[in-house]
């Protein structure tokens, strides 16, 4: 298999330039037979999928299946052990400004006594060395920050210390920070975790709306697909060492999800065509103690 992978990577430059260009226009992520290994353990393999520009993809899968690993792969923080993956027509690299990332977290340090506005502003030039040149582009930066704060509806609490804000407010600010780099792809790792229902819906809607307005593709990891179903164009599922992608109708079925989570999951459709998934959030921990 490894030989095969090397073969594939060598093959790659042979494919003509305009073919590559056309691929990058359509797909912003292209993965072919990708496998990821952490230590000696293969997390998943055979990952073949493409994600189109502006597409809203929800990533589901049980704990430890390698969802965050997939995001780290796209961020260039780890490398595939087999196959190849391209983001924007190139191998993933660290610090790609076309990607906005919000990592998985419970909450920020409550003692983080830094103004939310300053926290968000790190998205502009926080990665550059040195100190900001005094008086240069200060006003411009202030306007940029205000613009994303307005976009995520966080202006009201932008002057407060970020550690003192609620989970939903922090998620909005993290999103604002990610948007500052003008990304074409947003990677959001469980942004809905530890939020109440109202905030889950609000954040899901906000992400979808902002992504649509700015034509940003979204890869959003979530355990609960319900708040995301109205916006999800495709579902990418990571389970049992495999990756698959499909329309929500194809993936979110009782049979598929039950097999994927290895636990009873029930999918129901109501009279208005809404899909309801039971068992992912509530029933699962009760049935599998170690789940």
């Amino acid at each position: 298999m490894i030989k095969n992978a090397q073969h594939l990577q060598k093959e790659q430059p042979i494919c003509s330039d305009d073919e590559q260009a056309s691929v990058s226009l359509v797909a912003i992520i292209a993965a072919h037979e990708v496998a990821v290994r952490l230590g000696k353990c293969t997390i998943w393999s055979g990952g073949t999928f493409t994600i189109g520009s502006g597409e809203f993809v929800t990533i589901v899968g049980p704990n430890g299946a390698g969802k965050s690993t997939l995001l780290r792969l796209l961020l260039g923080l780890l490398f595939p052990s087999e196959g190849y993956i391209q983001v924007f027509g190139q191998a993933p690299r660290r610090g790609n400004s076309l990607i906005g990332y919000v990592p998985q977290r419970r909450a920020l340090d409550p003692d983080l006594m830094v103004q939310a506005r300053d926290f968000v502003a790190m998205g502009i030039d926080g990665h550059k060395w040195g100190i900001p040149l005094p008086f240069v582009s200060k006003e411009h930066h202030r306007i940029l920050v205000q613009e994303v704060l307005d976009a995520v509806g966080a202006t009201a609490y932008a002057d407060r210390a970020i550690g003192r804000l609620s989970g939903g407010e922090q998620q909005r600010l993290l999103l604002a920070q990610a948007l500052l780099g003008q990304p074409r792809l947003l990677l959001l790792d469980e942004p809905l975790a530890s939020l109440d229902l109202r905030n889950q819906n609000a954040i899901a809607q906000l992400v979808a709306q902002v992504a649509k307005e700015r034509n940003i593709a979204v890869l959003l990891v979530s355990h609960d697909v319900n708040p995301l179903l109205p916006f999800t164009e495709r579902v990418l599922y990571v389970a049992q060492g495999q990756i698959a992608i499909g329309k929500p109708d194809e993936i979110i079925t009782t049979e598929q999800l039950t097999q994927m989570y290895d636990a009873p999951v029930e999918v129901m459709r109501d009279s208005r065509g809404r899909v309801l998934v039971f068992g992912l959030e509530s029933a699962l921990p009760a049935i599998i103690p170690n789940g």
Binding site: R94, P103, L112, H127, I131
Partner: protein, 313 residues
């Protein structure tokens, strides 16, 4: 040290004319040296201290100062200047902590391990050294009134290097201190930043030990920043306030110690503690700062609003 202070107090009585007093104070070379070194150290400690507080590294800073004790005693044993030993040991410990500590946010086992070992070394070197206990005393509790011209130069050089390093890494350091994972995803080498910062702390600790000594390092490295953090939430403002507070405590300590026969570090630490208690007692606003102080950061906002109103009418 106490002998020195006693003679000081008898030198010149306190007058109510501040200009006379300052003239009296600055006519002594050791006071000029003390003010020069103290001010420089306060600036460095104030700046570095902000990041120490932000990164929850106060334990690491504390441990580095104890490594400094081992280094200084070792240097005295072999007949070298205590500062050189301080620098070698604190930087060495910083590198060990930085390399072995996986993520230094809250991971303090390795810090404790290094702390215990270097303290053991300190006791070992102290036992080898049967000379004046005075030397060990001044390493532990500061020796600013006895600081030599050469030590002042070393302090200046160390401080300049520390400030330069902070300026070079300022933005990625701040970003990584706020959120390591996001910073990493934006291409910041967070691990290297983390090690660089520990070396910066080591340099600052070595400089600050000259003033307040190993055991009292917190009063300059942590307390001013911790106070400043409650006065503002805008990082550059916090850093500025932290520096001003550190300078204020140092100057006040030096001035008062000139007239009273007690150690300078006692006054510096007492002022720092008192100020900290005051800001902790005062009520805090929704913005997370002390209610009495209102920083007008959104002045331009108000101007825009005003202009809009004027424009409409």
């Amino acid at each position: 040290m106490s002998m020195l202070s006693t003679t000081l107090a008898s030198l010149t009585p306190f007058s109510w004319n501040p200009i006379d007093d300052l003239q009296t104070i600055f006519q002594y070379a050791f006071m000029r040296n003390a003010f020069a070194a103290g001010t420089v150290v306060a600036i460095v400690a104030g700046i570095v201290g902000y990041f120490v507080v932000l990164r929850n590294l106060s334990f690491a800073g504390h441990s580095l100062s104890h490594s400094g004790f081992a280094g200084a005693t070792a240097a005295v044993v072999i007949g070298a200047s205590p500062v050189s030993g301080l620098l070698v040991f604190t930087i060495g410990s910083a590198l060990i902590m930085g390399t072995l500590g996986k993520r230094l946010h809250g991971r303090d086992v390795i810090v404790g391990v290094v702390l215990a070992w270097t303290l053991g070394l300190g006791i070992f070197f102290l036992s080898l050294y049967s000379g004046y206990a005075n030397q060990a005393y001044s390493i532990l509790f500061g020796q600013i009134l006895g600081i030599s011209q050469n030590d002042v130069q070393v302090t200046f050089f160390t401080s300049a290097a520390t400030l330069l390093a902070i300026v070079l890494v300022y933005r990625p350091l701040l970003f990584a201190s706020l959120d390591e994972e996001i910073a990493e995803s934006r291409g910041i080498p967070t691990r290297i930043i983390s090690i660089i910062f520990l070396v910066i702390v080591a340099l600052a600790v070595s400089a600050a030990t000259q003033v307040v000594g190993v055991l009292l390092i917190f009063s300059l490295l942590v307390t001013p920043a911790a106070i400043a953090e409650r006065l503002s939430t805008h990082p550059p403002t916090v850093i500025l306030l932290s520096v001003l507070l550190a300078i204020l405590f140092t100057w006040a300590g030096l001035l008062i110690a000139f007239y009273f026969p007690y150690p300078v570090s006692f006054f510096i630490t007492s002022f720092a503690f008192l100020a900290y208690i005051i800001v902790r007692v005062l009520p805090v606003t929704q913005e997370g700062t002390i209610a009495l102080i209102k920083w007008k950061r959104n002045v331009s906002h108000k101007n825009i609003k005003k202009q809009a109103i004027v424009g409409n009418s």
